[in-house]
Amino acid sequence: MMGLLQWLEGSSFAVWLKESPSIWAYPTLLFLHTVGLSFSVGPSVAIDLRLLGFGRRLPISPLDSFFKIIWIGFWVNAVSGTVLFVTDATSKLANPAFYIKMSLVFIAVGVMVVMRRRVFRDPDLDARPIAVFGKCLAVASIVCWFGAITAGRFMTYFAGG
């Protein structure tokens, strides 16, 4: 496993990404990762806030369209994140904040999938108030996304960066 990671890090693609002075390499990757973050976490939080009771006159079911945007943002980040990981695989795997971040991202995505199934597929969604379970999902979503962002930032400050 470690051998594979070292090979990845040493591959010409990873070295180019890390060392290229080109603005199209590492900086662009970080930019894409930032835009993906905003368009996945942002609309998620908007949906969560509505489930928690903000903007009460707003029907909830049409918000379902925004899950498409959230998924696009997620995949942009899964791909850009994988490439960023490859440039620095061994130290990322030695970084506790990295594991916390990944766990929180997976939980947040799981919460989103359950939210769509249990809350958004309810045909009476806009006919009755959101159940406690739905509100708990909304809180969990906000906590996990904000936690993932925080863990991601803290990665820079732990051993190995």
């Binding site: 603005i23 590492y26 900086p27 970080l30 930019f31 930032t34 835009v35 973050l37 905003s38 368009f39 976490v41 942002g42 609309p43 998620s44 939080v45 908007a46 806030l49 509505r50 903000f54 903007g55 009460r56 006159r57 707003l58 029907p59 079911s61 049409p62 918000l63 379902d64 369209s65 925004f66 945007i69 996304w145 904000f146 962002i149 925080t150 991601g152 930032r153 803290f154 820079t156 400050y157």
Partner: protein
């Protein structure tokens, strides 16, 4: 602040959280103006706008902390090009919001019911908003690369 090691990364985390709230909530409204999720009436949708404003205020405060912590990195001399571009884009985004109000678009948009199209002017404003905020993120990310300010 440097003796509390986590204070700096915490400020950075808050800056990213504020960014997601601002760009995410404003982006949802912009995308509805452009024709997505037409089942959403625009009056009630705009009630979420204070959350975008909260994101902006969080970023204004944490942004000031960053500049106060190391002013030369941003304002120089020499002035960081990315920083100048980022501030310009934020200013233009603010101007875009101001125009949205003073041209009366806001009042028109408030009355756009579910299933209806927003007026063309509002669509232009939404597209400009999306472009400018993505631009703000671009220049923010380039701070450490352009002008070697870091």
């Amino acid at each position: 602040m440097s003796h509390i090691w986590w204070a700096w990364p915490l400020c950075e985390s808050l800056h990213f959280i504020g960014m997601a709230m601002l760009v995410g909530v404003a982006g949802v409204i912009d995308l509805r103006l452009l024709g997505m999720a037409k089942g959403l009436p625009l009056g009630p949708l705009q009630r979420l706008m204070p959350w975008a404003a909260l994101g902006f205020v969080i970023n204004l405060i944490t942004g000031f902390v960053f500049i106060a912590g190391n002013p030369r990195q941003y304002v120089g001399p020499p002035l960081s090009l990315s920083f100048a571009a980022k501030m310009l884009f934020i200013l233009l985004a603010g101007l875009n919001v101001l125009l949205f109000y003073i041209t009366g678009l806001k009042r028109l948009v408030d009355r756009v019911e579910a299933g209806h199209d927003a007026p063309l002017g509002a669509k232009v404003s939404a597209a400009v908003s999306l472009f400018l905020w993505v631009g703000v993120m671009y220049w923010g990310r380039m701070l450490q690369f352009f002008g070697k300010s870091f």
